[in-house]
């Protein structure tokens, strides 16, 4: 089985490299047979990598400890369903996973490529196959999951206990898939540019794959935060760890890209800027992979034993320099169709949004490399951790949310001041009302006030727009409001999907503001029978059961929670102590409600039965986890294919002579 898997990796490597060379050569020489055969070879990598992947899964299920990777990441006691996690728990397997995902996405992207990209598709395919070849070569020559040990160990080393968590089933694969998916929009852009198609040919494909990559990263980030919240045992969800940042930065770049690309779609502007943005986003994704695998920055999440730093650094350099070189090569052909009409327009708002997103990405990048810079220039290593990011990025995020509230309400081209005032009137009133209410109940923290006010503004703005749209649709179609609303959303999925995603962002913001400014934390030691009161929660410690399981002792502590003097519920946080590492992993007990979470995690089990426990009240964090599914729903709506129609761009203002009949209905044209 290991031999089959290894063989498939080599076959895939051969196919991918042939696919890369064949596509490009065939296109350049005008040999369509070569192009077609190269494309088929590229598609066949999916088959080869499926077999390789299944081989590794089978090896795990059989616990074939002769294979070094299986021995290092599983043991006999491991439940079979953790095979899914063990598969990518280490460097080798995760690379195979990335290659597998990339081969599938590349095949789908090429197969479903829009007509406009057909002519330059061989170049696009070539770019994708170069990326795939890189990964397969690294797997084959440097990190082969099918390598065998010279002996067969009796048992494996077991899976990292921190990974045996539900969040781990989706968080790493979503992140890795998102990072690698960023190569697809780039491939379409590069392919078009190399092929001399310097207009909007790549636009639709790049937008769709940009959104897919963005959504995967967003899910990965949220699930990662959730994992950290429930298992790392300190009650937080995000701490600007270098590897968290590594996933955040490409996400920011892609967020900028998928907004800015709308301007190109509707107005034919920002073409160069969008190419730069996708280059930046891809570069940041490569930087993220480099940091994960032997990057020179400390982190708790990285693949500890990686020695692949050099090769990924090289890949990063090539992956950044080549796309920019192509961009400058084609620079003179890339002109916008249009000028900007006004600074008070949606275009301008999008550009400012881009700048703010890049500002956060830059500050974050700065924070991750500053330890190196300070070492170089000051001679001592200085850390820039959470206080730095909070102080620097916090205000920019607030400005972004402000823009998220204003931008979609501005029309394209140009707004008059009066129109802006009209659309912003209700949201502004809502914002002010929230501030007044909060101040009367005694909340005076400026950041919290700003955060809640902006959240109210964005939400009201979105709802107001929905109500107006549904109203005019209902009138035009003679339907009731609910039906009209469904028609409205379904008739313009990208726009309303985007709105839903914006609401999800507001929900995340609520969670961030709630936990950053209103959380309560108490660390106490309790003997059985003792209790502690945290605000209106009375937490009584009942006792701990202890169970010895091979390499660890599992403690399960029981707490009784009384609220307002009445018994409310039981909570049972757990803690697994590994004596050989002097290390423990924790399972927090969380009682979650939309208003606040009560969070209990034990930090120490003393010999006399008493425990050290951290008790947290985390307001509004529930909204952050609910935002995940909402965000996915919004993305799916935005991406759901619409029947092809002749697109109409917003006409240039100067060509609008005066009022003329205009359809307002959402139905099919």
């Amino acid at each position: 089985m290991a031999d089959l898997g290894a063989m498939c990796v080599w076959i895939a490597l051969a196919l991918a490299s042939y696919g890369a060379v064949g596509s490009v050569l065939g296109k350049m020489r005008g040999s369509s047979e070569l192009v077609v055969s190269a494309q088929r070879a590229s598609h066949l990598t999916v088959l080869a990598l499926t077999v390789a992947t299944l081989s590794l899964v089978t090896l795990f299920i059989n616990r074939d400890f002769e294979v070094a990777y299986v021995a290092a990441h599983s043991d006999i006691a491991m439940e079979d369903y953790f095979t899914w996690v063990a598969f990518y728990a280490g460097n080798e397997g995760s690379l195979l996973y990335i290659a597998f995902v990339l081969s599938i996405m590349a095949a789908v992207a090429v197969w479903r490529a829009p007509a406009a990209t057909q002519e330059t598709l061989p170049y696009t395919n070539g770019v994708l196959m170069v990326v795939l070849t890189f990964f397969l070569a690294v797997i084959g020559f440097m990190a082969n999951p099918f390598d065998k040990l010279p002996f067969i160990p009796l048992d494996g080393e077991g899976i990292n206990p921190l990974l045996t968590h539900f969040g781990m089933f989706f968080h790493p694969p979503a992140l890795m898939a998102g990072l690698i998916a960023a190569s697809i929009p780039l491939a379409f852009v590069l392919g078009s540019l190399v092929g001399g198609k310097t207009s909007d040919q790549w636009l639709d494909a790049a937008r769709v794959w940009g959104i897919i990559s963005w959504a995967l990263l967003a899910c990965g980030l949220l699930l990662g935060s959730w994992w950290a919240y429930t298992i790392l045992g300190w009650g937080g969800y995000w701490f600007w760890d270098p590897v968290e940042n590594a996933a955040l930065m490409p996400w920011l770049g892609l967020t900028a890209f998928i907004h800015s690309v709308m301007v190109q779609k509707r107005r034919g502007m920002f073409r160069m800027w969008n190419i730069v943005l996708i280059n930046v986003a891809f570069g940041l994704a490569l930087y993220g992979m480099f940091m994960n695998r032997g990057g020179s920055v400390p982190s708790v999440h990285s693949f500890g034993e990686s020695t692949l730093g050099w090769i990924f650094l090289l890949f990063l350099a090539v992956g950044v320099i080549v796309p920019f070189a192509v961009f400058f090569w084609r620079y003179n052909k890339l002109k916008s169709d249009r000028d900007l009409d006004s600074m008070l327009s949606r275009e301008a708002a999008f550009l400012i949004n881009n700048l703010l997103l890049l500002a956060i990405a830059f500050v974050t990048l700065w924070g991750t490399v500053y330890p190196l810079l300070s070492q170089l220039f000051i001679g001592e290593e200085i850390t820039l951790a959470r206080p730095f990011y909070d102080q620097m990025n916090g205000p920019i995020f607030l400005a972004l949310i402000f823009l998220m509230g204003v931008g979609p309400l501005l029309p394209w081209r140009q707004a008059t001041w009066a129109a802006v005032r009209r659309s912003l009137l209700v949201p502004s009133i809502a914002a002010v009302a929230v501030i007044v209410v909060l101040m009367t109940v005694g909340i005076w923290k400026p950041y919290a006030l700003a955060g809640f006010a902006l959240a109210a503004m964005v939400t009201t703005g979105v709802l107001q727009d929905w109500a107006r749209g549904a109203g005019s649709t209902a009138k035009a179609r003679g339907e009731n409001y609910a039906a009209a609303f469904v028609h409205l959303v379904w008739g313009n999925r990208p726009r309303y999907g985007g709105y839903i995603v914006h609401l999800a962002v507001v929900m995340v913001a609520l969670g961030v503001v709630g936990t950053s400014f209103f959380n309560i934390q108490r660390d106490v030691a309790l003997a059985p029978g003792e209790s502690v009161t945290v605000r209106d929660y009375e937490v009584r410690y009942l006792g701990t059961t202890e169970e010895f399981k091979g390499n660890r002792t599992e403690y399960l502590s029981r707490f009784e929670v009384h609220k307002n003097g009445e018994f409310a519920y039981l909570m049972e946080p757990g803690r697994h102590f590994y004596p050989s590492f002097n290390m423990a992993s924790t399972r927090a007990a969380i009682h979650s409600t939309p208003v606040e979470d009560l969070y209990l995690v034990t930090s120490e089990n003393m010999a006399d039965g008493s425990v050290g426990v951290r008790i947290l009240v985390n307001p509004l964090i529930w909204w952050m986890w609910v935002a995940g599914p909402v965000m996915v729903a919004g993305t799916l709506i935005a991406l759901w294919p619409q029947p092809a129609r002749i697109p109409v761009r917003a006409p240039s203002l100067l060509t609008v002579p005066g009022p003329r009949p205009q359809t307002t209905g959402p139905g099919p044209a």
Binding site: M343, A385, P387, L403, S603, P641, Q642, A644, L654
Partner: protein, 196 residues
């Protein structure tokens, strides 16, 4: 109707000014930073007389020296707990926040601090990114303005774009939104602009 120039730059100026002012305010007054969790009443810390919220604030500003990229507030190792204890002892002895931080910096070196002080050579860690962000945003806005239609053309637009036309323009915008073409892979390419 408002002056056209003023109105056209308004949201840009507002957003930029907002970002700039808050950035500067934060750097100038670190005590308003996001990292602290404010003035909630302390509910009886176990020993000594110190402010638990202050202690938790300090915990978040000290990195655990034996763990990669975790503060002592987060880290689950024994040293982190011992350092937390030490923070509370020092506070109970009357140390200020800065003195506690200095105590640890003297022993573990500057990398024990989660963020360097805004003084001396370390000021660059703060100033340079702010400077670059402002510079980059400024450059972006200059480029954006340079993309603007020549002012003569704008003038005509301005004359036309008055109140009466506005509801219509909104309708156009909304109507066009309905005509937004399929965006998924497989849709037809956008044809050349009919009337550039």
């Amino acid at each position: 109707m408002l002056n056209a120039r003023r109105s056209s730059i308004f949201p840009v100026a507002l957003a930029t000014a907002f970002a700039a002012v808050t950035l500067l305010a934060l750097v100038a007054f670190p005590s308003t930073g996001f990292a602290q969790d404010g003035s909630l009443p302390s509910s009886g810390p176990p020993t000594g007389s110190y402010n638990e919220d202050e202690a938790q604030g300090i915990d978040r500003m000290l990195m655990c020296p034996v763990c990669p990229a975790e503060s002592i507030d987060q880290a689950q190792v024994e040293l982190a707990r011992q350092m937390q204890q030490k923070v509370r002892e020092l506070l109970a002895e009357g140390y200020t926040r800065q003195e506690v931080l200095d105590y640890f910096e003297e022993r573990y070196g500057p990398k024990v601090l989660a963020a360097p002080p805004k003084t001396g050579a370390h000021i660059w860690a703060w100033v340079l990114p702010i400077g670059s962000v402002l510079l980059g945003t400024g450059a972006g806005l200059v480029i954006l303005r340079s993309m603007k239609r020549p002012s003569a053309a704008r003038q005509t637009v301005q004359e036309q774009g008055d109140e009466d036309l506005q509801p219509y323009l909104e309708e156009v915008d909304r109507g066009l939104a309905f005509d937004d073409p399929a965006t998924a892979a497989g849709s037809s390419p956008p044809p050349e602009e009919p009337n550039g």
